[in-house]
Every structure is written in C-alpha cells, then in structure tokens.
Subunit: 332 residues, 2 copies
C-alpha cells in the first residue's frame, strides 16, 4: 500500500499538529475543529493517526439524526433544536449532510443560510458535508466527522440528511435518537411509509403544523405506528407537531428527545446502539478497503475486460465476480 | 462455501427446469417469468446456473429508469408509458422497486393498484421488488431481475424507484434512459437539485402539469440544466411536462425517450453505458461476497469484540477494520 504524501507537515510533525488541533478544538477553537473535519472529509493520509489519537476521547456526545424528504423543513427544525440545546449552555455540533450536484456547482448553501441565527455563536459548530463520491453514502466520512466533534467536546451533535431511503437507514445507524420529519401536503404519511423511513424513527415530527392537512398526517402516522410490531418495553415513537419557523412545539420536541435519551440509558439500548454503530463503522471501512482492492491494482484492466464480456453476453456477472474476488484476495 | 439445499429439484433437474422456464417465459408465460424473478429475488442457490444460462440471451431490452420523490406520480407516468409502448405492440416489463416497511407489513400495493389497467394484459409483466435487506439497495437483485426480463423477450423494461438520493444514482447506472420526475408544489426544483438527482436525468419530467407552480418548476429546471457543464455533442436533458392522469404530454414524452435511445446508439453511449453497468454489477456481486466474508466465518465474534473495543474508545475503527480485512483475505 502506497501512502499519499501530505501537502503539509510530515508524519511526526503531523501527530504533534493533530494533538495541538484537538486541544484547541476542545477549548472551543472553531478553526482547529474545521481543519480536523476537513482532514476527515478529504480522507487525508493523516486520517488514521488522527482517529487513533481521538479514540479515547470519544463516546460522550449525544447524536441526534434528523431526516425526511426535501422541503419538510429539516434545517429549520435543526436550527430550532440547536437553540433549545444552547439554552442549556452545552456546545452543539451540526453536520448537514448535503449531496453535491454539478447543477449547483457544489453543496447548496440554503441550509447554512437558514441557520445563520447561530453562525456567530462560538458554542455552535456547523458544517455541511458532501456525500458524493463517498462510497456507501454516509458510511465513510460522517462517522469520522462525528468522532471529531465528539472528541472536541460537543455535548450534542445534530446530523441532518437530505433524501429518502437508504440515507435514513444510515443516519439511524449513526444516531442515538433519530427524528423523521414530515410535512403536510408533501405527499401523505403513506408515502413516507412507502419510502421505508418510518421504521427508523425514534420520534416522528409533523413540521409546518399550521398548514392544512397536519391533523391528517398525525392521524395517518398514528395508525402506522400502532400497526408496527413492538415488544414489551420497546420505545414507541411519539408523534410531535412543530412549526419550527414560529418555534411552536420545539421545547416539547426537545423534551421528548431528552426522554428518549433517558430511555436509551435505562433500557441498555444506548450501549447496544453504540456497539452496533461501531460494527457498521468498522465493516464500512473494511468493505471500502476490499472494494478498493477489487477495483484496484489487479482489477482495473481485468474489470474492464470482464465487463465487456458480461455486456456481450459471453459471461454471467457471478462468474465474473468470482474472478475479481480471487484477484482481490491475492492483492492488497 | 456451503450450498443451500433448494426446496425444489436437485441441481441437474434444476438446470432442466430453468431451461424450460426460460423457454416458457420467452413464449409469454407470465407464471414462468414470475418464478424466475422470485428465484432472483430470494437469492436462491439456483441463481448462478440461471444467470449462466441467461447470459447469451441478454442485452436486447431497452431499460428505462423512472425516479423522483414520493408523491410526484411516478407510477402513473410508468403506467402511461407502458400504454405507449404497448401501442407499438412490444412486450413490456415493469419493475417497481419498493422498499418494504414493518409499518405496512410488506411492499405497498399502491403502485400495482394504480397500474391495474395493465394487470390483465399478457404482454405486460409487472413486478414489485423489495430492496430491504439487499446490500447496496438496488445493486443486488434488480440487475439480475432485469436480465431475466431481458432474456424472456421484454423489448422495454421500466424500472421505477421510490426515494431521493442514492437509489436514483443506482437506477441511472442500470438504465439506458433515466427519467427524473418532479411535481409542482412538492418542494421546488432547488430541492431536487439539493437531493443530487438532476444530474442523473436524461429527461426531466414535470408531472401534474395542470397544477399551480408547473411553469415555475419548468423554469427552475431549465435554469439548472443550463448551468450544468456539458461537452460538445453531449445530450442536453429536455424538460417535458405531463399530466399522466389525463395522458397529456405522454406521447411527446415517449417520442423523447425514443429520441434518446437513438442518440445513445449513434453516439456510442449505449455500449459505453452497458459496459459501465456490467462493471457496476460485477463489482457489486464481488463486494457482497467480500462483505459476507468480513461479517462471516471468522468475523462474527471477532467483529463483536472489535466493535466493543471501538465503542469503548480502546481502539480506532481503522485499526479494527485492518484486523477484519486480514481475516477476510484468509477466509472464504
């Protein structure tokens, strides 16, 4: 395995730089924190030593995932929850996981603009992360960025994702508490169920509760929650209504998030979820490495050749995959 | 590697059964086709011999992907396009990729109900596929189901997916032509851009064109399409308006789909896309096998142990992944 030469300091200096940056970040230095997150996002060569250094400092932050279809007001709810947490004085991190698009020339700034109310608060660290190009969506960089914010002393980290489907399941695997947000008139709750996202919700939020159709959305969600199989002592997702723009329902939502956090602790689910999260994280890194081998050294030309034969109907994809796996097991 | 014993016939009979089923399916027997797709969906032991047998029969079907947020009317557009294709007399397959949810007790039937107009047409094969549990979403079963429909003689296969984000990119990698569908008032085109899905569109469709906001949606999409970098001779995604319920705009859309198909042929992009599709397919199968090894034989208990140490901050996830990869390269 070759090692990319970092544009900055060498290995030894790098360790010292990282240690210094972590200390600064813990003291509240946003620039040091931002540089550490960038290092994670770029998958820099220093990533491994950084993660090694951070490991003993992690495991303290509470991670809240917020998800839902585009347009339901995730960012506004996130902003309102940040305010609620800051009222208690704790440091808060926000990761807005933002797919980039060539149509927009990069991650859109809308979310950050909407959270401008917190832009000048040194106790709030807000970061947009692009998922494009990261194998497996959230699975690569976001958990590492979470570790950075955790180690830097953020008591709560809010992870907001755009999209419906796979991304939600991934957020849920990262978060201690997952909020699924819907809005009236954005397609009904059936559509949310259809997208398979209700099942990952610890708390369901009907935002824009002043809009027409809010009560119908609540009723539909209630029906669907009641239909889910659930064991004795399991958490039953409450359905909260908010109008994040006016702030209505936000303190009740924050209380419910706290209640879920307490339940996680008393039920033993907090540790169980965190072990599951670590399993996911380790597996994702291992698979990415194996995938690199499959697409990598011996695979490049070989994969093109195999793909040509599969496209021509000369070979089936399973037989082709067998050849690749054999090569990956040798290579590395 | 142990081999699951099939509930049905043994290996030798199985090959004969598959050959017979393929022949029946090619003659238009929907039940034989359905059983072959089930075999793919269940990842049965016979999957490999089936795919080997089908390989030389594949590569003829035109694959059209339809995607967009929940509620934009994908199923209705799909149904209308099926009718347009059937007008030309060709056999049509529909794969509705449908995440299942414990809230609904399985794949929702809504789509199928909406396509009931075609339910009794023997020239149309409609199938809902659940993606849950399939590693990498669409990457596992859907391409194999496509191969089955292709080999069975469907001239066109429409693949409809729910969701925004990763799933769309996967559909685009499967399809010859990808339609991204938006609707007025479902969140504006900016939200679609935010979800990163515009970039995979070969054709953009504003459905429910009779609704308020349709012209704004067209205008926003036009702006975003014009902003995308594009080379000389590249395809510029047209923006079509439809009202799939009334049928308005559907024949124009079908013509545009044909025009894109012609362009794919004349530009050489058709072969290029199909080779890329084969590369994705092979890689996905290979990665699934490697992932099985990582989570599998030596990994099970080892992964739990590593996860416990990572959760406790004793180990960083990269170091843990190294141990797993080493084990996976030995195992198999």
């Amino acid at each position: 395995v070759t090692r990319a030469v970092a544009a900055g300091p060498g290995d030894t200096d790098s360790a010292a730089w990282v240690a210094g940056a972590v200390e600064l970040a813990q003291a509240g230095d946003a620039r040091a924190l931002a540089r550490l997150v960038s290092l994670v996002e770029n998958g820099a060569a220093e990533l491994r030593p950084v993660m090694k250094l951070l490991a003993p400092l992690t495991g303290r932050a509470r991670v809240i995932g917020l998800t839902g279809a585009p347009g339901v007001g995730k960012s506004t709810v996130t902003g309102a929850l940040v305010a609620a947490c800051r009222g208690g004085g704790e440091r808060v991190g926000v990761l807005a996981v933002d797919p980039t698009s060539p149509f927009s020339g990069g991650a859109l700034l809308g979310d950050r603009v909407r959270m401008q109310g917190h832009a000048t608060d040194p106790g709030v660290f807000i970061r947009s992360m692009a998922t494009r190009g990261h194998l497996g969506g959230l699975s690569a960089a976001v958990p590492q960025a979470l570790r950075v914010l955790d180690a830097a002393g953020c008591a709560t980290v809010l992870v907001e994702t755009v999209g419906v489907g796979q991304a939600e399941v991934e957020v849920a695997s990262l978060a201690d508490t997952t909020l699924v947000i819907v809005a009236p008139g954005m397609g009904d709750a059936i559509q949310a169920a259809k997208a398979g996202i209700l099942e990952v919700a610890d708390i369901l939020v009907v935002n824009k509760s002043d809009k027409e159709g809010a009560q119908e959305a609540v009723r539909d969600l209630r029906t669907m929650v009641s239909m889910a199989r659930r064991g004795e002592g399991d958490w039953k997702p409450p359905i909260m209504t908010t109008s994040a723009v006016t702030g209505e329902g936000i303190s009740e939502l924050a209380e419910k998030v706290d209640a879920h956090w307490s339940w996680l602790g008393s039920s033993g689910q907090r540790d169980a979820r965190r072990r599951a999260r670590a399993r996911e994280e380790i597996t994702a890194i291992a698979v990415a490495e194996l995938r690199r081998r499959v697409g990598g050294l011996p695979g490049g030309a070989q994969l093109d050749d195999l793909a040509g034969r599969v496209a021509a109907g000369e070979l089936d994809p399973f037989a082709a995959a067998d050849e690749l796996v054999a090569a990956a097991s040798r290579g590395g």
